[in-house]
Symmetry: D2
Subunit: 252 residues, 4 copies
């Protein structure tokens, strides 16, 4: 049986400001999406997280975002595609320096926030991200939403792609994420989150928001790390997967 990967966002503080509990998350996840300084993260945090991840065998991925510290990368920006390619390449290289200094290297790339959402459908920005990853290292997997433009373009360009699912987010009947602004978009019941995580990991159907059942293919499950109670929820998901005999292992 194929195992499932658990990924979470880490290193999202900046300077004097902290966000989330990186150390606690590193004890649970198998893949760490490390912020690279454009929407969050700074060099000292990146260095520390890369060292801690390497020590634990957690894979480090470049969580690349728009250049927007004030907006935490959550505001869509009309980038010139060439500038976006350059910004993404810059972030991957910067993080890779810390990963290499820790004896490892960046193992995958996962876009963040508004960029993540934008390249689900925006072909030009999606192509810009794919170009950046391919230019850096064409063996580096892109982690993203199944059915997104970015994964399709990445696959077409010969890059490895990895699909992820969200155990605590509701899906539409055609397998898209229900927007956060819609009631019911986020699943809050920890037991339900765990049940869905196990189903997702096994490739079994889950309930869409309208009650129909869908299948979401996913090699990795994303768990949010910056909300109150996040570490506890992630830990419960991990324990539920173990109880269900689903192997938990990094994809990269």
């Amino acid at each position: 049986m194929t195992g499932v990967d658990l990924n979470a966002d880490l290193g999202e503080g900046f300077g004097h400001w902290r966000l989330g509990d990186d150390d606690a998350l590193l004890a649970v996840v198998t893949s760490a999406n490390v912020a690279c300084g454009f929407h969050a993260g700074d060099p000292s945090i990146m260095r520390r997280v890369c060292a801690a991840a390497a020590a634990r065998g957690v894979r480090v991925g470049a969580q690349v975002g728009y250049r927007d510290l004030a907006g935490f990368g959550r505001r869509a920006i009309e980038y010139d595609p060439a500038d976006l390619t350059a910004d993404v390449l810059y972030q991957i290289g910067a993080l890779d320096g810390f990963a290499r200094a820790a004896g490892d290297r960046v193992r995958y790339v996962k876009p963040h926030g508004a960029l993540y959402n934008r390249i689900v459908h925006d072909e030009a920005q999606a192509a810009a991200v794919v170009e950046a990853v391919g230019a850096y290292d064409a063996t580096l997997p892109l982690l993203g939403l199944p059915g997104s433009a970015v994964l399709r373009l990445a696959a077409a360009a010969g890059l490895p792609t990895v699909a992820e699912a969200f155990a605590d987010r509701a899906y539409t009947p055609d397998g898209r994420l229900v927007p956060r602004s819609t009631p019911g978009a986020v699943v809050h019941d920890p037991d339900l989150v765990c049940t869905r995580a196990v189903a997702l990991a096994r490739g079994e159907p889950i309930a869409a928001i309208d009650g129909s059942t869908i299948r979401v293919g996913a090699r990795s499950i994303c768990v949010h790390g910056d909300t109150p109670g996040a570490v506890e929820l992630v830990t419960r998901v991990r324990d539920a997967l173990r109880t269900a005999d689903v192997p938990i292992e990094p994809f990269a």
Copy 2:
């Protein structure tokens, strides 16, 4: 006979703003100190300069600086050494991504501005820079001022070091740069700059500011690229070296 390297600062624009004539300089120098986004430079500029440098066979060095865009890296900052190490490592990695994407890689590191001046004598900040370079790649040469703390500590740490000289700057009798605030600190006569460049390249003595003669050992000569007439001056220096049969070749 050993050749001499010509290095200049490149890629020092930011966003909509340009500084210096990168293309013209790339046609003359053998080593390009490329700004890495902290005091100047942005990802799009870095990508373009790395590609152009690779196409011409010009070596790319990481021109690392303090995080101070508004001050162009020319204001001394009391960094925590660990933060300085992280900031330098980040910049080297970021630039290396572009160099690798262009089929080459970062060949050396040269600190910029206030950081350059600070680590001539500040042991803690010098050690922080040395740690960053060593952590990234212990075979990467550090380019700096002969007799500086940073080159001494780098050599002690087993890193390659390369000494540089300035053909258009006056020296004190003990081989230090005359501060810019002192009258006569900058040599403006192009003929004299060329004569000094040839002498420096040959290891011959030059006149210090008090008229005594000194020897400045230097494998590389730094030429300033952001002043009016800079490209012409650099071109004259190159031609003078050629006329004097001094081989011009990169050190890295």
Copy 3:
């Protein structure tokens, strides 16, 4: 006869980088749109421009933009309206401090770049800008495009509004600017620019891009200051207005 105002963007350098010739423009225009540090401009530049404008009797306007130094405020950003209001208010206040220190004050507000274009039609962002100006000083005029959402909402909120026209830009038959990406969008012939400036100032019809004639009501004419030959073009426009006996005078 009512006079016409000439406005241009000033103070758009940042730190070590310069853009345009502020002093030369101040000798020609009657209103200076001064960048406030978010897309361009820094405190030292703002202080200098405000002092020079006050000395010449040139009116100072707050050229407010998105927080995007790397993109020069030319990238549309999906701002939360409350954050946009706060960002605009911040910029007006910051510039007003320098204007007051120079013995004058900010006389009007003109949005910049992508924000300017966005609030031609985006009601939410337009309302956010109007709220900022009204909260700062409800007697402060907003300078913008005739027919734009922002001028309409500003008028509805009781703010003074001032319409501007562009002598060097082509218009559609319904009085909108032809997008820069369309051939013929920019008028390059200086004589034609001058002829159109005089017509715009007199309220006479000008030719739209399809040859039909339109009237563009405008109390101010915007002249671009950051292109090669800009100062010469602005000077010719001013001279043409004087020759045509059109009074040139600030609106504020």
Copy 4:
């Protein structure tokens, strides 16, 4: 009997990041040192804090700092004095816009962090700050350390000055703050903090770190708001002052 003012730093988050509990502090202090966006704070936070302070009658002061978000304004920077004046003026004006929009205005200026410490002794930077405050509004008080260069220069320039004391910091026998790196520099016992606060407010002597007694003249007492338990400590200090019948009232 003259009352004493209680001041604390507020609004020191940035974007997605929060720091301290602004609302809880506003319920206790009489003066709020509001960060102005250079070391911390952003326009949305500034707007919210100014509105909340105005609603409670808490005085708003401009907590001006070095331009160093990554370092939280805690790293000394070798500023050109003219640039420092401009940076300080910019921050005061920006905050004043929000204070005015809330129906109030900036009532005083208090430098932050490394700038605060620097201008205790650095005459050039102290003069730069004084020039900024005087240029903005020569009736605006400067809040700072008794005996500091900045208060001396401010007084010489005709600006009002207000001395502050720290109830939780140890003093040297000559009335200076014991550096944080020295053991015993911070008083952790809440009862002792309260006792010292009352003595400071009454102008009675307190014990210096060597056991001798000193008098620290102070019209305002600074309480730290960003440490765990800060709000409780501030509340206890306030209650102790009330119990001792010391009037608590803003100086501005």
